[in-house]
Amino acid sequence: MTQPLLSVRNLTIDYIGEEKDFRAVNDVSFDVAPGEVFGLAGESGCGKSTIAFAISRLHKPPALIRKESRILLDGRDVLDLDREALAAFRWREVAMVFQSAMNSLNPVLRIEAQFYDMLRTHKGMSRAEARERTAEMLTLVDISPDRMRDYPHQFSGGMRQRIVIAICMALDPKLVVMDEPTTALDVVVQREILQRINELRRSFGFSVLFITHDLGLMVQFCDRIGIMLAGQLVEQNTAEAIYRTPEHDYTKKLWASFPSLHGGVLL
């Protein structure tokens, strides 16, 4: 492939306890190409969210990223960035959508304020400019711009998730990391959100790192998939291959545990 957008090399992350350590991520390496949707699948606790957090360096002690790890975005090692560079890097190059949008938005600030603080920090926009950009973004996700002065609790769960996506798009990032973005939503809303993300992806050309435990969903949405088990990346392939010819035992187990409606055929 051409130069990958995201290149994770030998990523090892430990949680340092008072006596013992816990290895959450064990020597994981994978690439994500520009404009690609890469999925990380696995059950809870396998380390996929830990990886997601690490890309924007959102971890706090006692997490520790071991020295041999590399996270390269467009050739630059994210782990080497100093404070200023990191602040500029965040959201502008990598944006994140979290699991429960219910909690991702600050309950005491208006929606427009939650756009404004980020727009001012990164682009020095005035309030008026920020309002324009906010209206643009909200329209993209089908939320009426008149509602920008509302508070998060005045929106439904699905709408809040869309607002978060709108905030993500505002700086035109290269990579959007989605950590279980639709798990807390019902199936219909899930589908809508994923379709919307696909449309946006085609318009703006960003890559997606998609994290979920729902393998079936992933196969429909992702181009390539990595399977994680207990901190290790046990299999990595195109979605088609993962679906039709899974190699690792665990991958096969994941498929086997899937209740099938039509006797094994998913799509």
């Binding site: 994140m96 309950p107 005491v108 600030l109 920090t121």
Partner: protein, 325 residues
């Protein structure tokens, strides 16, 4: 709005409850209630005045409910009877004067210690695990665990008696005449420093720990992580995402703390001979001036309720989720 209305109704009920306690106390004690209430009156009290006093407090002929309603009637028309010690001053004027001093001392001390304590709590939470955090947390523990009476006495001993930097009591220099002069106001400020410092020391620890714990409890929330992921500065996240949200439970704990604050300020006033409600109550108890004692309970309860209501209003203003309700 509905929230505030409900609170108002509740406060009304609580006030009536306090009045009810007042009503039943003398009647539940062994002995003749009239005797107990007015025993300290002695011979100086003219019989018509004694009669009027009895009427105010509901000691009329008739069934209990009638006595009760008579008493409630007096209260809601602002008649709290007359003080026995300061006869013929009405209880309301005795308490009214003192109320000003108490609100001044207690109000200022609460605002100052809330502001300082909250700020310290935010700083400690953000620098969690650092030496600063340990010092602040342990300091807060020490400050809250020492009873107000002890803090007052020790502060008075060190700064009033030993070092002589500040006066040993009273609201202002007793040799000055009360007036709106700079000199008198200056004297008030000077005399107010030690009691203020004492009260603040007593109160600040609680606010610090509360705010710190509230901050820590929400530092793992998704909106905090997203705020950091957005590349916002640490300071911005700490103030607008963490502290702004942690303020809510801290403000509601303020409402609960008001009772303790009243108690602490009462003790401080006695130690410093400050002419506030606390001191008046104390003197009234020594003199067995029951009309004042009972009036005190009502005024202090009313103060609590009003303070609580102000906190309720603040809470509604701070939490957008309640504004529409």
């Amino acid at each position: 709005m509905a929230f505030l209305l409900r609170r108002l109704v509740f406060y009304m009920a609580a006030f009536i409850a306090a009045a009810t306690i007042n009503f039943f106390l003398p009647r539940l004690m062994p002995g003749d209630p009239v005797q107990i209430m007015f025993s300290s009156a002695g011979a100086e009290l003219p019989p018509e005045s004694l009669q009027a006093l009895k009427l105010t407090f509901g000691f009329v002929d008739g069934p209990l409910w009638q006595q009760y309603l008579t008493y409630l009637g007096s209260i809601f028309t602002g008649d709290l009877g007359r003080s026995i010690k300061y006869f013929p001053l009405p209880v309301t004027s005795v308490l009214g004067h003192a109320l000003v001093w108490t609100v001044g001392l207690m109000g200022t001390a609460t605002i100052v210690s809330f502001a300082l304590g909250t700020f310290l709590g935010i700083a400690a939470a953000w620098r969690r695990g650092s030496t600063f955090d340990v010092v602040v947390s342990v300091g807060a523990i020490f400050a809250t665990s020492v009873p107000a009476v002890v803090t007052s006495l020790i502060v008075l001993f060190i700064f009033g008696f030993t070092l002589g930097w500040f006066p040993n009591g009273y609201a202002a220099d007793p040799s000055l005449d009360p007036a709106f002069t700079l000199q008198y106001i200056g004297s008030i400020a000077y005399h107010g420093i030690l009691p203020m410092v004492t009260l603040c020391t007593v109160l600040i620890g609680g606010f610090t720990v509360t705010m710190r714990n509230n901050m820590i409890n929400l530092l793992g929330e998704d909106y905090i992580v997203m705020a950091r992921a957005k590349g916002l500065s640490d300071r911005h996240v700490m103030l607008w995402y963490a502290a702004r949200n942690a303020l809510l439970p801290t403000v509601s704990s303020l409402a609960i703390a008001i009772g303790t604050i009243l108690g602490g300020s009462l003790v401080t006033e006695v130690v410093y001979n400050y002419p506030g409600l606390g001191n008046i109550l104390y003197q009234a108890i020594l003199a067995r001036d029951y009309p004042v004692i009972q009036g005190q309970l009502l005024i202090m309860t009313a103060t609590m309720l009003i303070a609580n209501f102000i906190v309720d209003i603040s809470y509604v203003m701070l939490d957008p989720r309640l504004k529409g309700a």
